[in-house]
Amino acid sequence: MDLQKMMDLPGALAAFTYSDKGELQSHVLREGTELTPQVLDLLARSCVANLAIAGMEARGWEALTGQSGFQPIKGFSVVGLEWSVVVNGNCGVVVKNRDADYEASFNAVQAA
C-alpha cells in the first residue's frame, strides 16, 4: 500500500494501515497536523468496528427489504468537525473537510 500516494489526495492529513483487529501498522502524518499515532490507532479500531457494523446492517437491510446494491461494503467514513476519515479493507486516509474529495478517497482506499 502506497501511503505517500494516498497523501496526494486533496486535503490529506494522514494515511495509515491497520490489522484486521484495528491495530495501527504504518502511517504517514502531514507535518503540522494535530493528529497523532495514538489518534490514528483509535480511529483504526473504531473504523474496523464501524465497517463490521455497516456490513451487518447492509446484510440485514438487503434481506429485509429485498433491495440490493449495498453488499459488499466498499468503505466507511466518519465526518468530523474539521476532518473526515475514510477507510476500507486495511487502510485509511484522513482528509480536511474543506478540501475533501470523498469519491477519490473511497477509490484510493479501495485500490490500496
Partner: protein
C-alpha cells in the same frame, strides 16, 4: 423537509429523510416504504450515536483535534451509499461526483452540528443527561 426536497431533486438520490434526534419522529421522500424509512431512521440514529461516542473517546486523547462534534458519516456500498449529516440521511446511487455533490449540499444546508447533539440523542435515557455528560 426543505432539505429533503432539495436532495430528492438531484438525479441519483434514491431516498432522503429526516429523523428526530430523540428517535420519536421521522419523515422521508423517495423509494422507501413507511416501515423501511422507520428502519432507516433507527439505523441512522444508532450509527450517529455510535460515531459520536467514538469521537468523544478520540477527543479525550487529543483534545480539540478536530473530530467532534461529528457532523455525519458515509457507508459506501457496492452500488449505493448512505450519507448521514446531522439528523438527515440520503440513499444515493454510486454515480460519478454524486457523493461529493450530496455531501456538499448536506453540509451546506444542515450547517455545522453543534455540541448539544449528544444531549438530544441521549434525551430518551431519562434523568439529567446534560449533567451526566458534561
Amino acid at each position: 423537509m426543505r432539505i429533503v426536497k432539495q436532495l430528492m431533486a438531484i438525479p441519483g438520490v434514491i431516498a432522503a429523510g429526516e429523523y428526530a434526534y430523540r428517535g420519536d419522529r421521522f419523515s422521508y421522500e423517495g423509494a422507501l416504504t413507511d416501515e423501511f424509512a422507520r428502519m432507516a431512521s433507527i439505523m441512522c440514529r444508532a450509527n450517529t450515536l455510535s460515531v459520536n461516542m467514538q469521537s468523544e473517546i478520540v477527543d479525550s486523547f487529543s483534545e480539540n483535534c478536530g473530530c467532534r462534534p461529528v457532523q455525519g458519516w458515509i457507508v459506501r456500498g457496492n452500488q449505493m451509499s448512505v450519507c448521514a449529516v446531522g439528523n438527515y440521511f440520503a440513499f444515493i446511487e454510486n454515480r460519478d461526483e454524486l457523493l461529493n455533490d450530496v455531501m456538499t449540499i448536506m453540509r451546506a444546508k444542515v450547517g455545522d452540528v453543534q455540541d448539544d447533539l449528544l444531549v438530544n440523542l441521549y434525551a430518551r435515557l431519562g434523568g439529567d443527561t446534560k449533567e451526566a455528560l458534561y
